[in-house]
Amino acid sequence: MRLDTTDKQLINLYQRDLSVCERPYQEMARRLDIPEEEVIDRLQSLRNHHVISRVGPVFEHHRAGASILAAVAAPPEQQDLVAARINRAPGVNHNYAREHTYNLWFVMTAPDEDTLDERLDELEHQLRLPMLRLPMVAQYHIDLGFDIDWEALA
């Protein structure tokens, strides 16, 4: 998909926040000086082409329950198997393979801290691998995306 200036502007302006008001797309339309219908069509098309993953709420995990980043060092020949087990564990919503001895990094969530600990203990026991538990201690940046360098991407 080739992005035109309006698409890029849409992403630049609304990757950080759109207004939670009665007619959010109408407000975007006003700002971009295009019809509301066009805003909706463009968003639909950007989503269909996976340029944006969604237009919607980003939830703060630790405010809507408990969450933790954890990692294990899976023996390379078992990495796929271990990854599949992690993916099946309750509450796991992200799992990335990374180039490091600790090669599987995942985020686990639960309705509360106790349930989270139980889930981690259970998974650790199942995997028979020691787990690095890395809860967030402080957040130095509220995730609002980052400036997209369109020229570098062109």
Partner: protein, 177 residues
């Protein structure tokens, strides 16, 4: 300086208790809002809730910090940022509050957190996520972080992601997965 921690963050409440209707809304919008002129009306119809209640609940969840933002979330990989580097740093405990804030403010850092060390296995306590179109670009950005940390950093590495094995929205059901 505004550092948000688990313990304190002025305008937000620590543990906002979600009611079932909030949960229903979260579950219904994990994949995004309906792309129709009145998305609240469409959601309300789907869930049997008045449109103004849907909107009011979203506004409140945003005020309470449960909803961090409502946005058009870009797919950075699809845009050309093929390299995702989790840069990790071993920063002096006395300096991490100040330095973490400076690193978090760098325009190319998308997430920045302090996390505990697990010695002797893991000595890094500062995590900053960096994206790039090449490894060189990620390394250049990591170099800028190193400049900020200076003498207070005793070691660092970059963990590149080689595969996304799972990425889904937040799940809230008690029974998990």
């Amino acid at each position: 300086m505004s550092v948000s921690t688990l313990k304190s963050d002025a305008p937000h409440v620590d543990n906002y208790v979600l009611c079932d209707r909030d949960r229903q809304l979260i579950l219904a919008t994990q994949g995004g809002l309906p792309l129709v002129p009145d998305p609240w009306q469409a959601l309300g119809q789907q869930l049997g809730m008045p449109a103004d209640e849907v909107l009011a609940r979203f506004q409140r969840m945003q005020e309470m910090g449960v909803v961090r933002r409502v946005a058009a979330v870009p797919n950075h990989y699809r845009l050309g940022y093929r390299f995702n580097g989790m840069t990790v740093w071993d920063v002096k405990d006395e300096a991490i509050g100040r330095l973490g804030q400076l690193v978090g403010n760098l325009p190319f850092v998308s997430h920045c957190y302090r996390r505990p060390r697990h010695l002797p296995y893991w000595s890094y306590n500062l995590f900053a996520m960096v994206h790039g179109t090449s490894r060189e670009e990620v390394e250049k950005k990591a170099g800028l972080i190193r400049d900020v940390l200076g003498e207070d950093c005793h070691g660092n590495t970059i963990l590149y992601s080689s595969a996304i094995l799972k990425k889904t929205g937040l799940r809230l059901k008690k029974d998990g997965s």
